[in-house]
Amino acid sequence: MRATLVWMRRTPLSVAGSAIVLLLVALALTAPILPLRNPGRMNVVKRFAPPSLEFWFGTDHLGRDVLSRVVYGARFSLRIGALTILLAGGPGVVVGILGAMAPPRTAGLIMRGLDVLMSFPALLLAVAVAAALGTGGRSIVTALAVVYFPRIARLTRGIALSVLTQEYVTAARGLGTSGVRLLGRTVLPNCLSVVVVQSSLYFAEVLLAEAALSFLGLGEAPPAPTWGGMLYEAQKNMRNAPWIAIFPGSAIALAVFGLNLFGDAVRDAMDPRLRT
């Protein structure tokens, strides 16, 4: 762990990635106490105000402050991302380990089931599930969890299988260690560390997918400031007020960029072969 941190500090891109992620989390957490305007307050006189000293990111078609809506949007997006990863990760890890340790027939059945879920293009499956569940943050989280659960399960199974072939596992088995103990002591910890790292990359993908779903009108109902929802509303006024579209999209790109850098860096740092 220490070596990982030391190594990460040496690569500038991973420092940048961590800084972006930390900044976004900090903004999301402190949004209510920051000197921002109310993201929902309309001001008809100041509609379509271009970016200025008064409104850094300009105002939208209802005169709402785009800057504060973007900052509050971070709260929505990060919360939905985190909930999705938790909801997909828990069952994903359990099913993945079952897929590796269960009797071959059961394991085969489980894996075929996952194959089926993964045969649907990710975004379409999410759209369809969210549509079947009705609009709102909850159905987006559920839909994205359905999409990412098989991916996490497959990843976990792969790691669990490779852990199970290690010599120390054979040794432990030879000493009569029970399956449960083996699971808790070796398989689970090894799987979790990789899954957690990979999750920061999935988190980035979830943010992109969440934005797309909100853009399609499947997210939180309109007054709520979500990045994708803001882009949906911005579409109609692109000719005269492009800033309404530019800033929320940049926020998504920045968040995804930071998470990707961060995830790549941690993954490389944990792979001793790459540490040269």
């Binding site: 599930v129 549509a131 920045l254 990707n260």
Partner: protein
């Protein structure tokens, strides 16, 4: 060649249970998910009687297995269901919408491969040079930008500010190819950028791995020009994993086309999916998602067979 045909036949047969499972999953989407689809479709606005009528229309008052069997036999006869919204048949809509989506996805794929593979090749050939650093930075940024937002930005820049390309609209490819292409350029760029970045990244790492192999050293040692080493010895081998990744990621293009077609108002399959979502037209969504999944599975089968063709080591002896 006959070996490959036999392989393809075998794989096609093995696909039957998979397709059956896919149909069950698509069916489950509407009928097993908790909650009453009739209520969801009404958006909580219908009277009790209206909801009951819709339930009957959807067949929700009959046992699950009966409904599934009925749906499946209809599909096998080529009937993917009927819209609750405007009563059109899904298969008919697919017939006239498919060419648009096909053109969009194909152009995006061409763009992604045409840009991504050479960029990755250059990046690997000039490792750690400014070309490599620039390519990697562009890749990282491209992987972070939402495709639909990129689409909006392209519209602002090329259509609204520079006035070079039409904003939105569509012309069937069969009518006027050049005009159709002008409408498809921006959507294809927006849709293909993500895949192009993935391919750059993959080509780079795949090339770097191949360049470390003994046979590349041998080729260099016998005095071959570097260009020849790269193209004939390295790239051919590096391409093998790239073909697989293209196959897997056709899903990204198929899924992304839904959003891109909405942004650019293209009358494709993706636009129909989104419209059906707005209208809570569950039978259409169900038919479409099964259709797209089957296309996706078949594309991957094709890629698998192609893969065997590219890599003689994998051919059945």
């Amino acid at each position: 060649m006959s070996g490959i045909l036999r392989l393809a036949g075998g794989r096609l047969l093995a696909l039957v249970p998979m397709l059956l499972l896919l149909s069950m999953a698509s069916f489950a989407l509407v009928h097993v998910i908790p909650g009453d689809p009739a209520l969801v479709m009404m958006g909580g606005e219908g009277t009790t009687q209206a909801v009951a009528e819709l339930r009957h229309q959807l067949g929700l008052d009959r046992p699950l297995h009966v409904r599934y069997w009925e749906w499946l036999t209809h599909i096998l006869r080529g009937d993917l269901g009927q819209s609750l919204y405007n009563k059109t048949r899904v298969s008919e809509e697919l017939y006239w919408r498919m060419p648009t989506t096909l053109a969009l996805v194909t152009l995006s794929l061409l763009f992604a491969v045409g840009l991504g593979v050479p960029a990755g090749l250059l990046s690997a050939a000039f490792r750690n040079s400014w070309v490599d650093h620039a390519a990697r930075l562009v890749t990282l940024v491209s992987l972070s930008v939402p495709s639909f937002w990129l689409g909006l930005m392209l519209i602002i820049l090329f259509s609204l500010k520079l006035d070079l390309l039409p904003v939105i609209g569509y012309e069937p490819i069969t009518q006027d190819l050049w005009k159709a292409l002008r409408y498809l350029i921006l959507p294809s760029l927006a849709l293909g950028t993500y895949l192009s970045a993935l391919l750059t990244r993959l080509t780079r790492s795949s090339m770097l791995e191949v360049l470390g192999q003994d046979y590349v050293r041998t080729a260099r040692a016998k005095g071959l020009r570097e260009g020849l080493v790269l193209m004939r010895h390295a790239l051919r081998n590096a391409l093998i994993p790239i073909v697989t990744v293209i196959g897997i990621n056709v899903g990204i293009l198929l899924g992304g086309s839904a959003v891109i077609e909405t942004v650019f108002v293209l009358p494709g399959v993706g636009q129909l999916v989104v419209r059906s979502v707005y209208n809570r037209d569950l039978p259409v969504i169900q038919g479409l998602i099964l259709y797209v999944a089957v296309v996706y599975v078949l594309v991957n089968l094709l890629v698998d067979v192609l893969y065997t063709y590219l890599d003689p080591r994998l051919r059945p002896s």
